[in-house]
Symmetry: C2
């Protein structure tokens, strides 16, 4: 059995959580959901969904250089967590900490990115807080409601369930790699990186899915966490042309990197990864088609454990604990992290 | 008429807000409440109350050196905003960004301070996010509900209303001054600075108050904002022995500083400042006594504008715009801010 505790990030979360008393009104346990689910007194049918997410490392590592992107991602990261529990959004509050040296235009750029992301999702910024600090940090806290029967968690899939992605993944790893390798703009322009939370899709998925989690830390991370939480085996197909973002694929070809690595970077995007019972598959796909959305079938759940890639008829086990723990074990520096990741992928040889 | 726009902080908020579309479900306008008030679909009687607040400058300026204080204040600052709208808390989510050089014991200290604050208020941490950044920043987002009829805002007082504080103020300025002047621990030990949000008092105040706001930026700032929002004159009595925290008073005597300055620092505490109609005063005080709480009467509201101190029968106008704007006009450095503030107070001569 592959336990949650093999993952350093999970241990770090546990080291915080063990200090805190648990609310009797909280529906979910730690690790089980992308957003916290809370009972509202006097409201028997709905749960409040709440999440908080800061964007700081991505900016300080230079992944985002345009303040518009910084604002956009802050909003999307938070609503993506709401979409993964199937919530209807109520809005978001933001806390913006920027260096005193930043211009007024820079702050306005952040605000415009936040507003554009909200218009894209048809949601609203409800309020916020501004601070002057030595390092930029942008925090959002998104709030929504979900009917108790329709809420999604990361737990509940069974052997035989089909694994889906809400859209092609890999753009997060692509921008990370493009920055670290100093690739020219023709490979990956930051203005093309506008990942979008799947709020509307989540509202459909919640009628069918047996578990759901977003890909904000990369698809491999998501599959690994779902595998550990459900104590089942997750098998990923190698139809990379359908699964991976086309720009990310182009970078892989040019840099001679195996495509699946674009699913393994810690910098993900905001797709939903979810499982559907085989008997619900046709109904689900028909409903998706009606909203002109094409979810991508990426694999299946089986008895057992581990994350495996099915390639040319073989099942190749991926050491997803090694991949996830690289963020802590490869050193603080992004470049040594990326190098360790690529070294591992070359060894797997898919 | 003294407008909101004379205050640089209000202009800064406006420069953010003007970029954002407004939710049709948001009850309050900008500046009008300590927490955002949102209608919940399918729930006619309650409003959701949400606030977000980061603690960063206070740590980086060295006001807080014990991680326990940092965690404590992060929780209290957020629940204080909820108390000022009269909300019943549902919980808080937190985002913790600390430097990679900090020890495990430091993070545990933050967590213990957060948990102790939650136990004091009988509330819960619902979830969170951790990050590694170059500068520490702790953000909380507290959520609650308030019945529509009982919600409090910063607007609604009338001439003749009595101004109250939920408790003695000035501990925030005292710790700030103690740090800036390098006063020895015997004056002000950080472990004595445990300001507490007035959740339970807010739940009583909401039955009586005509307006309410917390003192997180200092009492003078609060009175100034209420004065501008209500377009009335706010008169503050000079019974400092009853109004000001005893440690703060001791520092004033030792340093030869006028006591009212302890109400004028930007680093406040978490008391509630609110107004009660004269005909409700007796009922309110009786109800307060039953919960063994002694609210402090600090002045009254009159026709006109401005914030004045009533001293020896005279009304002395305080240039509260000058005081509030010092944070921006006196330079980024806390010492030059404190010096400008003391210089102004000496000139007023109360």
């Amino acid at each position: 059995m592959k336990t949650l505790e093999k993952i350093l990030e999970n241990l770090e979360i546990n080291s915080w959580v063990r200090n805190f008393s648990r609310s009797p009104h909280q529906f979910n346990k730690p690790h089980e959901t992308d957003a916290e689910l809370i009972e509202i007194e006097g409201n028997d049918s709905q749960l409040l969904a709440v999440t908080i997410d800061s964007v700081a490392e991505e900016i300080n590592e230079g992944f985002y250089q345009d303040p518009f992107t910084m604002g956009w991602v802050t909003v999307m990261a938070n609503f993506s967590d709401l979409s993964a529990v199937g919530a209807d959004p109520l809005g978001i509050v933001i806390s913006v900490s920027v260096e005193p040296t930043r211009s007024e235009a820079f702050s306005q750029g952040i605000a415009q990115g936040m507003e554009a992301a909200c218009r894209k999702l048809e949601v609203f910024i409800l309020g916020g807080d501004t601070n002057t600090t030595r390092t930029i940090s942008l925090t959002g806290c998104a709030i929504g409601v979900v009917t108790k029967e329709k809420k999604m968690t990361r737990i509940g899939c069974q052997s035989g369930d089909v694994i889906f992605l809400s859209g092609r993944a890999g753009s997060g790893s692509a921008i990370g790699l493009a920055r670290l390798a100093n690739l020219p703009e023709e490979y990956f322009s930051e203005s093309c990186y506008r990942p979008t939370a799947r709020i509307k899709e989540g509202q459909l998925i919640r009628n069918y899915a047996t578990c759901c989690m977003d890909t904000s830390d990369g698809v491999i991370h998501t599959l690994d966490q779902l595998m550990r939480l459900n104590n089942l085996q997750f098998i990923l197909n190698d139809n990379w042309d359908e699964i991976i973002n086309s720009i990310a694929l182009k970078i892989c070809q040019a840099q001679n990197i195996p495509p699946w690595l674009m699913l393994a970077g810690l910098h993900g995007e905001f797709e939903l990864c979810f499982t559907i019972r085989p008997q619900d598959r046709a109904d689900f796909l028909e409903a998706a088609e009606q909203m002109e959305w094409n979810p991508i079938q990426i694999g299946e759940v089986r008895e057992g454990d581990g994350v495996k890639i099915k390639s040319q008829g073989r099942l190749i086990e991926i050491d997803t604990a090694l991949i996830r723990n690289l963020a802590q074990t490869a050193g603080q520096d992004s470049r040594s992290y990326a190098k360790s990741l690529i070294d591992y992928a070359m060894k797997v040889g898919i």
